[in-house]
Symmetry: C2
Subunit: 472 residues, 2 copies
């Protein structure tokens, strides 16, 4: 299966087709999606979907503050300053302003830098980082109400998730080396920004097409600063696409499912029905989970099961002979890095997080640090981690055993892990995550104030002016 994304069903049966259900490639899926976006009304969204939008925004702002001084941001900011003259939009947490495209790039990069943002685990797409970055850049230049903002956010997420399903969830497949956020992120963003701009159906299709023409990115970026560059670039690309389309810059009338469009070129094959099936009834974006740990979403189950081992059993670390962890095949394919050399590589190292979670009973930003990655005790434990694939496990499940030197075996299982879509972080846990990321920079009081402002976003009349504390 390595080399193509494996077959897996999206929750709720979005993708359960028979061959006879499928319309031919070339049917007007993009147009149908555009009509849905235009007709969608915030007040028609189910309350849980509306609340999830507020949670996604809150998490994004927390991650933006958490990533604002990340080394990837430190390296990117001077380069973008040199290329950007305008001061229209804010780089969150940095007191710096750039042109809208560069600000969208930097904020998306910052939110993705710790890999602490969110994930649709079946397709490994991370929709919020580019989405909110682009919407904020737009909202700093134009009056946008809080509810319109959150509506656009969920539309972007929905488009990204459906497109990613069309490429990677059975019966679709694509090369596992594609970075889904790079392929589909900008298209969702263009749709969300386009909704705010009031684009016509034709313009929305063009916006999606122009965004698709900028889509790309590969998993060879992982373990480097470029992994977070991809969501940053997706936000920038989607923002530009919407602006071009608003000005009647044209693209194909069916840029996604025509024979030389995104789905046909990248899919092996694709399943374009995922774009339109039960639109408005089924919200695939509800399968986006806010991350509980700052690492790749395919490591979450392994991380959680090791935390569970540490919670359930008492053992001395020195007594561990070996740790056997079973995970979904995609998890091992993308995160089976047993000797990470720094915090970047650790983001995609199941072995590191299993060791750190077992050792410290925690999996937070401290465990993501270079110091922890290079700690001899962690390295020693990492070498005792043995990961393998179990065909009965889904991507959000794992089981593990510690084999002690005495021969005793201690076991645990998570199905699904904490912070998965089926077992999401509570609002209180979300606030605690926000505090853990922002309070070092902002202080506790200001952080709590910012959290309260985020929760009140649905009532804001003008997002760009409602809460300067978001931007500073």
């Amino acid at each position: 299966m390595i080399g193509t994304m494996p077959v897996a069903a999206c929750e709720g049966g979005l993708i359960q087709p028979t061959a006879s259900d499928a319309r031919p490639l070339g049917a007007r899926h993009t147009e149908e999606l555009a009509s849905f976006v235009i007709e969608s009304v915030w007040s028609d969204l189910p309350a849980p979907v509306q609340h999830e939008a507020a949670r996604a925004f809150l998490n994004w702002v927390g991650c933006a503050h958490g990533g604002a001084f990340h080394s990837a941001v430190e390296q990117a900011l001077p380069a973008l300053k040199a290329l950007s003259g305008s001061q229209a939009c804010t780089v969150i947490g940095r007191g710096v302003r750039l042109d809208p495209l560069s600000a969208a790039l930097l904020n998306g990069l910052s939110v993705g830098a710790h890999a602490f943002d969110d994930a649709h685990v079946e397709t490994v797409v991370h929709p919020a980082a580019p989405t909110v970055a682009a919407l904020l850049a737009y909202a700093e230049q134009h009056r946008v109400s809080g509810s319109d903002f959150l509506h656009a956010l969920m539309i972007s997420h929905e488009v990204q998730c459906r497109l990613s399903c069309a490429l990677a969830v059975g019966p679709a497949a694509c090369h596992v080396g594609h970075y889904m956020t790079g392929l589909t992120g900008a298209i969702g963003v263009a749709t969300g920004v386009g909704k705010l701009m009031g684009l016509s159906a034709k313009q929305l299709v063009w916006a999606m097409g122009i965004a698709a023409m900028q889509g790309g990115g590969f998993r060879s970026s992982h373990g480097t600063m470029s992994a977070a560059f991809i969501p940053g670039n997706a936000g920038r690309s989607g923002l530009l696409a919407a602006h071009l389309a608003a000005n009647d810059f044209t693209c194909h009338a069916e840029p996604l499912s025509s024979p030389n469009g995104l789905l046909s070129v990248v899919g092996r094959p694709s399943y374009p029905e995922a774009l339109t099936e039960r639109l408005g009834q089924h919200w695939e974006c509800m399968n986006v989970a806010i991350k509980p740990f700052p690492n790749g979403c395919l490591i979450h189950a392994a991380t959680d099961v090791c935390l569970e081992l540490a919670r359930l059993h008492s053992f001395s670390r020195g007594d561990i002979e070996r740790v056997e962890i079973q995970v979904h095949e995609l998890s091992l394919a993308l995160t089976g890095k047993d000797e990470p050399k720094d915090s970047y590589e650790a983001q995609v190292s199941l072995h590191h997080w299993a060791a750190a979670a077992l050792y410290y009973g925690r999996a937070d930003l401290n465990e993501a640090s270079d110091a922890c990655v290079r700690d001899p005790a962690i390295i020693a434990l990492r070498r005792r981690i043995f990961a393998s694939v179990a065909s009965d496990l889904r991507p959000d499940e794992a089981r593990a055993s510690i084999v002690l030197q005495s021969g005793q075996r201690l076991e645990a299982q998570v199905s699904p892990h904490i912070g998965s879509a089926k077992r999401p972080l509570s609002d209180e846990q979300l606030e605690a995550k926000f505090l853990s990321q922002a309070q070092d920079h902002l202080g506790t009081e200001r952080t709590r104030h910012l959290i309260a402002l985020c929760w009140r976003l649905p009532l804001a009349l003008d997002v760009g002016r409602a809460a300067p504390g978001f931007w500073g």
Copy 2:
């Protein structure tokens, strides 16, 4: 064969491997390419390669003036103005200044707008539009000598051509719906700009990687404004990538040929040896041809063979019963559009150009106009054009017969067509092409002066200041 790029040999035998010659995927091709770029010295380039660089530059400037008021540029410029605050760099021919990234985008778009730029026909990559756009944006901000500029230009072309060969020339293959300039353009550009910046080998590899992470674009863009957006975006992306890498923003140490890198993900399979084989001895960029006609490079042979029919034979247009044209399979796969509705679709319509060339005995910007595309006489003749594939023809070859109502058959063949790499436009023809594009805007005298300035570029001490006439 449709669906993958067909097997074809690059001139001079760059790609004639046996399986046993190939190093495994994952070998350090990118690093080897970076070392070559760093060690390359302008004075070591063969004189024909140096001269081709000057020709490429001249052609680019002519196309920039020719495209400066194209409708695609008209639609894009206001959108980019709204998003760009800086005035650092010039939009050629428009008296407008934008930030460097936006200027690179606009100028690449303008040069590609009429599809009159250049082409490496075996891979259908168009290297100059993004390259010169990005190098000029850099040269407006930094002191760059003319020879350094032209050196960087040829390095960008060479990297693009080799990468494109690695993806699309046998034994490599990829989906024909990929737009090669979108996939490989930014990587070449990043290398060229990186050479000017004096990047280290490690930084150059990162620059290529960051550029690869932005690579994309599909042939569903063709026939719309987005077709020219792709080279524009490639220039912008490569420029940004070089700046990020210069600031030690990291990427994979082997972003192109590692298992989840560009070549492995997109290739079916790829042939990474094309990146490094006989580097410095063989210049694949010498197979880039400056376009003789403003249309897709896979239409050039059909256009030329129809011009040849008009030259060789005397016949009345009303006597034409049918025209039979034989071309390479890729030509028909990508340009077999028999009812183009406007000038954009005509760029990829073999039928339009065959009809227009036969009717007018010319194939210039007039024949590319909406007026010509919608002319009833041309439409009537277009319906008498019948194109088919001949397996013995290369992409730069075609044969054609006019069948008259009398039953008489008039024949012609081009192998290769005028303006192909093997039968390039002369310097004088290049100047005539430049004049045809620029003199309406600039007047004949100023255009001739600009042509002279372009030829003198190798002697310029500071490209950004040597010739304000380039920019205005």
